[in-house]
Amino acid sequence: MHLLVIDWWLILEKSLLIFGIIGLSFFIAMYTTYAERKVAAWLQDRRGPNRAGPFGIFQPLADGGKLFFKEEIIPLASNKPLFILGPALAMITALLTSTVIPWATPFITKGGDVIAMQVADVDMGILLVFSIVSVGVYGIMIGGWASNNKFSLMAAIRGASQMVSYELPMGLALIAVLFMTGSLKMSEIVGNQIENGWHIIYQPLGFIIFFVCALAECNRTPFDLPEAENELNFGYHQEYSSMKLGFYLFAEYINMFISSAVMATLYFGGYDIPFVNEASWGLNSFWMTVISFSVLMAKISFFLFVFLWIRWTIPRFRYDQLMNLGWKKLIPLALLNMIITAAVILLLKK
């Protein structure tokens, strides 16, 4: 019996990447809370937080510190293990989704080794994202149920039915993209866009459906019914305090970040730099990686801004409106989009 044969370099490389991405997710989530407040203020002709540090840039740190030092309350009537499991699940599922996203062009070392800027380029790629998103419902449901509060439970059930309903049009919109690429691998989806142009050109309707569904999946306004303050007090995290509440809130922002990244990858060419042929620049691979990464981040920031912009423009939907929109409007539209895409692809093949 001898020790396991393990490629330690691979493990080192991947764990560096994983920790980098997790750190990045936390950082972006923190500053999205700041951006949320700033954008809200600007859209309402206000100034927003500007006390902590210059322009208030330390505001998220102050918020985080506050959440950390708040008293941790676990209601007596709650189901304790599940009460703790809820936010943990929400956070885990939010962070897991980032595994299959290609963050930049592969980095080639001097020795000629190729280091992919992607944790796992697995065969089922985007399907994996879907499976994790579908599990993400449990964070909300368990938390809401374990609080033993009828408002929390109502919110949790709303949130779950909303997320399950909007997964359908999201998947259908995605299928049209998969028709075009012929692969579920994220790297191949990006590669196809670099060759043939971004999918947004061919799939504007599909993108809009996907975007609306992403809003619903992240529980963002206009679909933030699980957190409807004025109907359900505070939603599924009503009984939570301190860092558990922080986990729920953070998970929402990480979800926003990851869904922006997924949208950028699926429809906006991922790390592709628009309008130029970057291969002709002859840059070394390190700088290519850096540039393509920042291009992806720019696209993600744009989507995050749109998320915030929508939040401060559109009022919350009513629950029946939400369900009507999902089942009666988006699913037929997504089916139509899928069929048209399939027909056009068949015609072009002939």
């Binding site: 189901n79 065969d123 089922m124 399907l127 499976s131 998103v133 419902v137 449990y138 449901m141 779950a160």
Partner: protein, 168 residues
């Protein structure tokens, strides 16, 4: 004898699957049962990945953990079932059930004795039968008719559920 990562993972996942399956039938609280069943499905998905059936692993999570179990959880939460409302069987019946199940397991495992157990499953190059491209091709060529029929089954199940669940 060498121990590979696959073997270690097999044992971990097997123990996890059996433990959580046992917890499903022994938990008093139905919500706990549902959550343990989800854990079972996750470990079975892990087994699928070990058997390089990636597509089935993901479909298992999406369909079972992401849709079916959400439905179960939904129903249990809406009915407000908990430890107190849980109907309990008589202790003797429980014991009889456990013994009957154990006997079944014993008989089935004993019947394995006569089977040649030379067959093994190893990871081989090109063993990508569970990959999405291969399965997809097979599904949409050889099995396209059952596939379409299953979609009709789905539709009828949906209609049936709505009709049953509708209040008169």
């Amino acid at each position: 004898m060498t121990i590979t990562i696959t073997q270690i993972l097999f044992w971990i996942l097997s123990v996890a699957a059996l433990f959580s399956a046992l917890m499903v039938i022994t938990s008093k609280n139905p919500v706990h049962s549902v959550l343990w069943l989800i854990a079972t499905f996750f470990s079975i998905s892990g087994h699928y990945i070990l058997l390089s059936a990636q597509f089935l692993a993901v479909v298992n999570i999406i369909v079972y953990a992401g849709a079916i179990m959400v439905l179960f959880l939904f129903v249990i939460m809406l009915m407000n079932l908990n430890r107190e409302t849980e109907p309990q069987k008589n202790r003797w019946i429980k014991m009889a059930g456990a013994i009957a199940g154990g006997c079944l397991l014993l008989v089935l495992v004993a019947s394995l004795k006569n089977v040649e157990s030379a067959s093994t499953i190893e990871d081989v190059k090109g063993g990508d039968v569970g990959f999405i491209k291969r399965l997809g091709k097979e599904l949409f060529s050889t099995y396209v008719v059952p596939f379409e029929i299953s979609s009709i089954l789905f539709l009828s199940a949906m209609v049936g559920a709505v009709v049953i669940g509708k209040k008169e």
